[in-house]
Symmetry: C2
Subunit: 279 residues, 2 copies
């Protein structure tokens, strides 16, 4: 597994870098970004994987969240993958909608044509990418995972299904119950087909109800988020946690919306939460 550097920018005494690599799992070339804090020049540092939302690339979080300042203080690397496979030959929604196809991989392994050839983002994020990162960079195998919206869904699903791989999970404005919302219906029907049994393994509420682990989970949700009632349904996650007595911390943040201004306002608390659990 080789990687090709395409940018290196000093930031908060560490380095923001972007790379291309050929993904075997996704069967296409992918770009990712990594922030290496200054501590990484002296020792292996833990890694926070950040999963972005619909339409994003590796760049949105790195440019807009203000996370590098705190990562540099705490000695945490951050890795931001893209949100779907990309490039020639990768299927897209014929209507070019923003919530299916390119930029909308939903962090699952597609089983339906034409998606299954490339849309295997679950395996990419959980397995292939960490393996690549731990091979090429001065990082430990101590990991946390976080994300926003579709990426919040991805972080919760990846973390709840693999508690042995992550120390902690956090999410901003996550799609917590995709089997019961329009974004989830559309994605799951297209990528996974009509059999709803296969949907359950990608639904954070279902996973939290059935979880036998207690990996720490922090969720922030703005009360002025346009997608709150129809798509995000945070109360479904609160109910799921209650059923299983899961130690969920879910905070409704008064007046905040779905944007990166919301993420920037609270990312410091998320990074400190992960740092505490990554040790």
């Amino acid at each position: 597994m080789t990687i090709e550097n395409i940018s290196s920018t000093k930031s908060f005494a560490g380095w923001h870098k972007q790379y291309y690599h050929q993904s075997g799992v996704l069967n296409c070339q992918m770009r990712f970004a990594i922030y290496l804090p200054p501590q990484a020049s002296e020792r292996k540092v833990p890694v926070l994987y950040w999963l972005s939302g619909l339409t994003c690339t590796d760049e949105n979080f790195m440019q807009k969240a203000g996370a590098m300042r705190i990562a540099a203080e705490l000695g945490i690397a951050i890795v931001a993958p893209d949100t779907s496979p990309r490039g020639q030959g990768v299927a897209d929604d014929p209507s070019e909608s923003y919530d299916l196809g390119l930029g909308a991989g939903f962090y699952l392994n597609a089983t339906q044509a034409p998606w299954r050839e490339h849309y295997q983002m679950y395996d990419y994020v959980v397995q292939e990418l960490p393996e690549l990162i731990e091979q090429h960079f001065p990082v430990s195998n101590v990991r946390a995972i976080a994300g926003h919206s579709m990426g919040g869904h991805g972080a919760l699903v990846a973390g709840l299904r693999n508690p042995e791989r992550y120390q902690s999970i956090s999410a901003f404005s996550p799609i917590v119950n995709p089997i019961n919302c329009p974004w989830g219906h559309k994605a799951f029907l297209n990528y996974l087909g009509k059999n709803r049994d296969s949907w359950m393994q990608y639904d954070a509420c279902e996973l939290m109800k059935a979880s036998s682990s207690d990996i720490p989970v922090l969720v922030d949700q703005g009360t002025s988020d346009n997608f709150l009632e129809e798509q995000l349904k945070p109360h479904a996650l609160i109910e799921a946690a209650a059923i299983n007595e899961y130690p969920l911390i879910l905070r409704m943040q008064e007046g905040y919306d779905h944007s990166y201004y919301f993420i920037a306002s609270f990312i410091e608390e998320h990074l400190r939460f992960h740092a505490k659990h990554m040790g």
Copy 2:
């Protein structure tokens, strides 16, 4: 002078807002952004005017600099104007170059056709915009000014020519000596014509040599900036300051480039510098 709100987003317990207004000075509709810290709901707060670089709009700094966190702590409003007049009928470089015309107003008052009808960014930034801001928002008339690259040039020029209007000036990677660099030559020749006497009033080095004030100036410049030698020439400002014993603080920052990652890395120190001088 009326303003039309086009967005309001909660950020760090304050509000990021965007507005349209009809500029009499620029003779077109303009958009600007303002960040109001939480303190502005209780008292009038001082204002930092941020001037962006080539190709930017009101959005780049607000999205990428990570400044609102510190502004919220310090109780400072931030106002970010656009970088040129915009809209139908506003002249642009026929070759659509990035360094002349739209997005490249250079914070000066153009005297040459076809530019002079709209390109009056100096008067807009120094006079009309602050008047508008102080009429419509809970801000005091205590002001500071800062900027990046072309906007660093703009901040130095506006501040050095109007020390009675600002408490402090700061700049990242500023064009300090436009009469002696390609960006400056191209802009000044087009906007101001061939008479180099008219160029002097927009050259920070010339203004610093002649200044009789001692308004505090902080400049940060990355040593890995691609534009360092050809366009930015920080040593010319150091020499100008030495000639006039001007209290300039200019810091060469090892390894940093011209990007917003550089700005984000040091914006906290700039805001604390301005807060100290704005009292």
